[in-house]
Structures are given as C-alpha cells and as structure tokens.
C-alpha cells in the first residue's frame, strides 16, 4: 500500500521556509546570549544560492512578528559567484544568468556563490 506522510506546512515559495530556518537560527543564538531583543540580523546570501533576496525580505516580515526580532532590521550581504574564462583568461564576478565571457564570448561556468548563512546578530 502506498502510504502518505502528512506535513503540516504551508507556503509556496521556498524563501518562506528559508526565512523560518533563518529565524530559528537567530532566536536560538539570541536566547543562548540572554538577549531580550534582536535589533539587527545580518545574512550572507550568494547569488547562486537559489534564494531571492526580495522574497526573503518579504518572508522575513511574515515570520518576525510576535518574536523578539519583531522590530529587527534585516541586512543582507549579497555575494557573487566567480567565473574564469579559459579562453582569454579574464576573471569576473558572475551573475546567475552569465553563461559566457563578457570579454570574448567563450562559455564560462561560474563557481561558488552558494553562501547562505547568518553572519551576525545585534542584540540587547
């Protein structure tokens, strides 16, 4: 028999679940440091992480209410992947939609940009 495992989770963009995980990390660490309030949350989000910064901000507003981060500022540091052109030697920061070298047009395959972490918290 096929079985069904139920999961009571709602939300249709994965930034919501990323925001929930981010909030859990922030709240855990705030509690461990006896914080009464979180004033600022600083994240590092790579441009290849698959997370949209706008959607994450939107989701953050939804998950912060009724927590000690209710008035926290969300600071997002975006990082970019690195690309190196094997044909002409040019190195550059690549966006998600860069598939070729801006100097010579040869195909390039960006590396990195996968960062997705909570860097620091400002608490009181």
């Amino acid at each position: 028999m096929a079985r069904r495992a139920p999961f009571g989770y709602n939300g249709c963009m994965h930034e919501l679940s990323v925001a929930q995980s981010m909030m859990a990390v922030a709240l855990e660490n705030a509690a461990a440091n006896n914080a009464k309030k979180i004033l600022r949350i600083e994240l590092v989000v790579g441009n290849m992480s698959g997370v949209s910064v706008d959607a994450l901000r939107f989701a953050f507003d939804a998950v912060k209410t009724d927590t000690i981060a209710g008035n926290a500022e969300l600071v997002i540091r975006e990082t970019a992947a690195d690309a190196h052109c094997a044909a002409c030697g040019k190195s550059f920061e690549a966006g998600q939609y860069d598939f070729s070298c801006p100097a010579c047009g040869a195909p390039v395959f960006p590396k990195g940009g996968d960062e997705l972490y909570v860097k620091e918290l400002e608490i009181e």
Binding site: R3, A5, F7, V25, M48, F109, L116, L121
Partner: protein
C-alpha cells in the same frame, strides 16, 4: 546597551544535518539515492513507472513521491511494481526537505539498492535542499521550450544528469532536442544526457542502465 555577536551559521543547517543522517543510515545497505527534479508535468512519474517495470526483479528499488497533494503518483508507481513506495504530501510547500525524507524512511525495508525520490514539480525551489541524495537529475520536456535551461539555470547547475523527455513531441512544438541539449550543456557541461519518450519507452533502457550502474558517492563536505 546593544552588542553584536558573530554567528556564521548556515541557514539550512538543520536540513543539512538531516541530510547527513540520511546518508549515514543508507550507507549500511549501500543504497544509492537519486533525486529527480523538474517543472510540473515533465514526465517524472511516467518515467518512474517505466523504470520500475524494467528494474523490478533485477534490483531492489524504493520510491519516495513528493507532491503538494494527492497520492496519485505513489499509486501509479506502486501499480508499476515498485517494492516500496511512500507518498509525501508537503501540504503547500513547493519542495521536499531532508526532514520529510527522514520521516518517510522510517518505514523503509532493509536492502534497498536504489532509492528514487521524485521531487515536487517545480523548477526553482527543490535544488536548494539537500535530501541526502547521491545523484541529482533534472528532467525537462521538449514542450517547455529550449530557453528553459538558461531561464532556470540553478537546477541545471546542481544536477549530474539531464533527462530530456517527450522527444516524440518535438516536431509538433517546434523544439530541437539537439539545441535543448546544447543550451543545457552551456549551463553545465558535466551533465550526462538522456533523450527519452517515457510514454513509448524510447531511451528508457539507456536511462535504466545508467541508474543500475550508479555507485554511492563518497560523503563530501
């Protein structure tokens, strides 16, 4: 007085830890885990039905079906002869997470050689979540159009193989499978490519041979 504390903690750490536990659990039976991702309707379940039919009796295959709702897909794969099938309903979430797989695996039998996970049909979100898989496969259908690899590059970059399905429809939708593959390889040249028509069985044998040949990947970072 406010103070700043340095954390440097991965946001998806809990997911990654669950994924590591899945790898730990499945290493005992050397179970190879394949995570199939695609936009809705590319033909994942149809391919899995054909796959299970071909591999049943040769290797022990388990299937986890991820859908927002319904257990249609699990029923289809079960009818095709899979030994063990579980349906996960995410109840709205657009992707599977490792914790869901971990719970689904609680009822898994011992001795599975291959575990195929059909992710929720979605071209963006699933690739952000490690499911404890060894191999990631992006599936596409020619009817989506050959601009999709470069519109949704994330999933193509993260995958090890591409199954380009519904090649039987290529003449009707004015899409060239060759060009689709070329566009895909310009995003990720390492993709192992399969051209299939799951409904007629074309190309499915090659895909099954590849699946049967897969080894568990050594746990990386």
């Amino acid at each position: 007085m406010s103070r700043t504390i340095l954390i440097e903690k991965k946001i998806l750490e809990k997911n990654d830890i669950a994924a590591a536990r899945i790898r730990q659990k499945l290493i005992a039976d050397n179970t190879v885990v394949v995570n199939i991702m695609s936009g809705p309707g590319a033909g994942k379940t149809t391919l899995l039905e054909e796959t299970v039919r071909r591999l049943a009796g040769k290797i022990n295959v388990g299937v986890i079906e991820g859908d927002i709702a319904t257990d249609n897909d699990a029923r289809r794969v079960e009818r095709a002869g899979a030994e063990w099938v579980v349906q996960i309903n995410t109840g709205g979430a657009c992707h599977l997470e490792a914790g869901m797989i971990e719970r689904a695996l609680e009822t898994a039998p011992r001795g599975m050689q291959l575990l195929i996970i059909e992710n929720v049909g979605n071209l963006v979100c699933p690739s952000s979540f490690d499911l404890g898989d060894d191999w990631k496969v992006v599936m596409a259908s020619v009817t989506e159009g050959q601009d999709k690899p470069k519109k949704y590059p994330g999933m193509y970059r993260k995958s090890h193989a591409l199954v380009l399905n519904k090649v039987d429809l290529a003449p009707y939708v004015n899409v060239s499978p060759g060009l689709f593959v070329k566009e895909s390889l310009e995003v990720n040249p390492a993709l192992k490519v399969f051209l299939t028509a799951a409904t007629t069985g074309d190309g499915v044998d090659e895909w099954c041979d590849w699946l049967a040949s897969l080894k568990k990947r050594p746990a990386s970072v």
